[in-house]
Each structure stands twice: as C-alpha cells, then as structure tokens.
Amino acid sequence: MNKQKKPPIPISGVVYGEIIYWCTCISALVVIFGTIRSFLEVDSKIPVEYLLNAVFEGRSVESVWAGSALQKVPDALTYLAILSSGEAVTVAGISFGILSVGPAIFFSAAFMWRSKNEFFAVTALLSGTFAVVAPFVFFLI
C-alpha cells in the first residue's frame, strides 16, 4: 500500500500556539490559587460568599460592587491596590491568559517574516498591537 507523507507544519503557527498554550496553563494555576485564597481569606474586601449571592440574586453589576467594601466598580488600578485578595488574584490570572495573545502574535509575526510571508507578518503586527493596546484605551478616554 502506498503510504503518503505528512505535510510540513508552519513554524510561525507552532510558535504562536506554544506561547499561548503554556501561558494559558500558567494562568489556570494562578486562577486555582486565587479561588482557594478567595474561600480561605477572612475580612476580605470582596468576600466570595457575598459576590456569589449577589450575582445569583440577579443584582446589576453596579449594585454588586456598591454592596461590597469597595463601594465602586473596580478598575485595573483597584485590583492592583488589593492584589493580595483572592478575587484580585483570580482576575489577574484570567488577565494574564488574555494578555498572552499580544506577545504570542509578535513572536509568530517574526517567524512569519523570516518565512517570506511579509503580508501576513504585517497583519500579525497590526493585530498584536491592537491586542496589546486594547486594555489601556480606557485610561486614555
């Protein structure tokens, strides 16, 4: 029987996939730690039981946060100020996974350029820049 050869796999894709894959695994470990911390901490500014009750009661986002010790909707700076709390660690873990997209695109773009796919290297650079800039847009508005 004629055995067929497997086609080569583009290195730029593998680079992108590996960076995202491992960063996502790390972010999952941080999220697990944050979850445990949320349930163990006492006198938290964002108690986990309160959050779950408020969310499943159907309260609005503003009302959920207004009823917590924070008394306002948290932004990135609020989370940084209470980074030792379980909720902040959990959100930081999720954010790390999300933010890994930008650098992964940049590394992949470099390999795309080296493999003479200049057009896609440029579209990758533009996409990576947008992914990196998006979280900071709200500080500019």
């Binding site: 067929q4 050869k5 497997k6 086609p7 796999i9 583009p10 730029s12 894709g13 593998v14 992108y16 996939g17 590996e18 995202i20 894959y21 491992w22 996502t24 695994c25 999952a28 999220v31 697990i32 979850t35 445990i36 349930f39 986990v48 039981e49 959050l51 779950l52 009750n53 969310v55 499943f56 009661e57 159907g58 986002v61 503003e62 959920v64 909707v73 948290p74 932004d75 990135a76 379980g86 909720e87 959990t90 959100v91 999720i94 996974g97 999300i98 997209v101 695109i105 773009a109 796919n117 057009f119 896609f120 579209t123 990758a124 996409s127 947008f130 992914a131 998006a134 979280p135 709200f138």
Partner: protein, 334 residues
C-alpha cells in the same frame, strides 16, 4: 486517560483543579446560597466547572467556542445580570480556543495565514461590539436586557439555520474558480487528514467578502458575549471553501484572539467577577485540551447536529423571556 498520559501539564492541571475543589468541599465551611436549592458557594463553582468541561469538549469539536452554548443558556434560564453573563461568556469562548491553539498548531490543523488574515477585523469588531454592549446596558437597563435576549434569540435561530444549510456536504468544499487575490497572497495549504490517512489540499476563495464578514462576526460576538467561532466556521467553510476540520480549528484560534480585545470593555465595567468566571475558565482549559485531541479523530459534523437542537430550544426561551420583559406579559409553556 491516554491523552493525559501524553500531556503531563494536563495531568498537573486536572490534579490541581480537582484537588482544589476537593479541598474546598472538605475543609471550607461555605454557607448555602439564597434561592439555589441549598447549594453552597463551593458546590456552585464545582458544578460550574463540570458543566464547563463538557461544554468545552462539545464546542471545540463543533468549532463554535463555548460562549455560544454558555451565554444563551445562562441568559435564557438564569436571572444573573446580562453583562456578567456576557463577560463570563467571552472567557468561556476564549479559553477553550486559547488552550486548543497549541494542539491545533502543532498538528497543522489551524491555518496560521488565515488566522492573521482574519485577526484584525475580528479584534476590532469584537472590541467595538463589547463597547456597544456596555453602553446599551448602562443607558437602557432592563429594557436593554430584553432587547438583547430577543436579538440573541433571533441570532441563534439564524445560526442554527446556517448550520443546517452548511451540513456534512461541506466537509471538503469544492470551488471551481480560483481567486486571484488568494493566489497573490499564496493562500493555499495542505493538512494531514487522520480519518483518510492522507494529506488534503485546499485553495482559499472570496477573501474580501470574508474579511468584511469577520468584522461583523467579531462585532456580534463581542456584543452578545458569544465569541465568534459559531460564525467563523461557516465563513471559512462556506465562503472561503476551507475544509470543515481546518475551519473548526482555525476558528478556535481566531475567536480566542478576537475575544482577547473584546473582554476589556466588560472588565473595565466591572462585569468580570473572578470567582464566577474561574470555574468556567478552568473547565474550558481542561475540556479544550481534551476536545482538541479528540477533534483530529472524529467527524465534526455529527457533534454539530446536537448543537443545532440546543440552539433551537434556547432561542425559543430567549425570545419568550425577551418578549415578557419588554411588554410585561407572561408567555405560558415556554
């Protein structure tokens, strides 16, 4: 079991996650939540994790992203705030795709050129869509939520119809005329098809139309918190003539990328509640890895039939809840 032996990191994640929930169940005194049948906070996050795990496997294999299952079900059947559901929906849609990106790229199932062709329109569309969602919710309140439910119900019906129209016959789409732009961009590729035990070649078509459609898909994905994979598969498969399995894998990678921008307006509005999103994220990661390895060995069209039935049922519930909220009436039997 075989998958976890080949992937020690998956074993580590599973062990850490299960240990975390066992530890919390055994050693943390968690009070029962109001109106949730006596379940404690720990119970709720463990149940969420299990649901997310199964949603991830189904969604990766169907190439739709978990958001298209999670968001409509939660909007239809719970009273949780719509912004919180939609932000968690984006996390669900994103993380199965993020973690599946590795296996998809390693196996050559996802086409990196197609990913970077569609990345910018999806990123921009998703970001604009979620900005619009937050703005609508802040200005129209419960009326806005009812409008969102009705619009999503109609959208789900359309998605189900798209899946019915583009069924199993499009697994290896044929397209007679070659696209000049695709030729110029060298948009042709080859992947190894496990079920046929041979390489499959394909050429890409209708590049310009697809780029516009991907922006629209990104917008609706960000607005409803669905992600965008539900429509990326039809765009790649039906419009660009990409084989179904490559479409499913590429859409997984693309939607994860697109949602990475769409999530920020929700986070900035305080709609991402870490403790609610965490079990859904963990379930998506572990289920996503399992789903990505299962994908290369099965026919994706079969799973999509299950999805179509779920889309129809959920759309009925969403429409009824939206109409009830908007006109202050009660619709029986739904």
């Amino acid at each position: 079991m075989m998958i976890s032996k080949r992937l020690p990191e998956l074993q580590l994640l599973i062990v850490c996650t299960i240990s975390c929930y066992i530890f919390l169940e055994l050693f943390v005194a968690s009070a029962a939540l109001d109106g949730l049948f006596g379940f404690t906070g720990v119970d709720i996050i463990f149940i969420s994790f299990l649901l997310s795990f199964f949603v991830a496997i189904i969604s990766v294999v169907a190439g739709v992203g978990g958001g298209v299952i999670f968001t409509p079900l939660m909007l239809a059947f719970t009273s949780v705030d719509t912004l919180i559901i939609r932000s968690t929906g984006l996390v669900v849609a994103m993380f199965s795709g993020l973690v599946a990106s590795g296996p998809f790229m390693r196996k050559g199932l996802a086409d990196i050129k197609l990913v970077f062709l569609g990345a910018l329109p999806i990123l921009v569309g998703g970001f604009v869509g979620s900005m619009a969602a937050v703005s609508l919710s802040q200005h129209l309140g419960e009326t806005g939520d009812s409008i969102v439910r009705i619009a999503l119900g109609l959208l789900l019906l359309a998605i189900a119809l798209v899946f019915i129209v583009g069924g199993a016959s499009t697994e290896y789409p044929e397209h007679g005329k070659r696209s000049k732009l695709a030729d110029k961009l060298k948009l042709r590729h080859m992947y190894w098809e496990d079920t046929l035990q041979k390489p499959v070649k394909y050429n890409v078509h209708n590049v310009k139309v697809a780029v516009i459609l991907l922006f629209v898909v990104g917008f609706t994905g960000g607005f409803f918190g669905l992600g965008g994979g539900w429509a990326v598969v039809p765009v790649l498969n039906l419009v660009m003539s990409v084989p179904l399995k490559v479409s499913a894998a590429t859409s997984g990678v693309l939607l994860a990328m697109g949602n990475s921008a769409a999530i920020w307006p929700y986070i900035n509005a305080g709609a991402l509640i870490g403790v609610v999103a965490a079990p859904w994220m963990l379930g998506q990661i572990i289920g996503g890895i399992v789903g990505a390895h299962v994908l290369s060995g099965i026919k994706a069209a079969f799973v999509r039939k299950l999805l179509i039935a779920m889309l129809f049922l959920t759309s009925l519930k969403l429409l009824s809840r939206g109409i009830e909220g908007l006109f202050n009436i009660s619709i029986p039997f739904i």
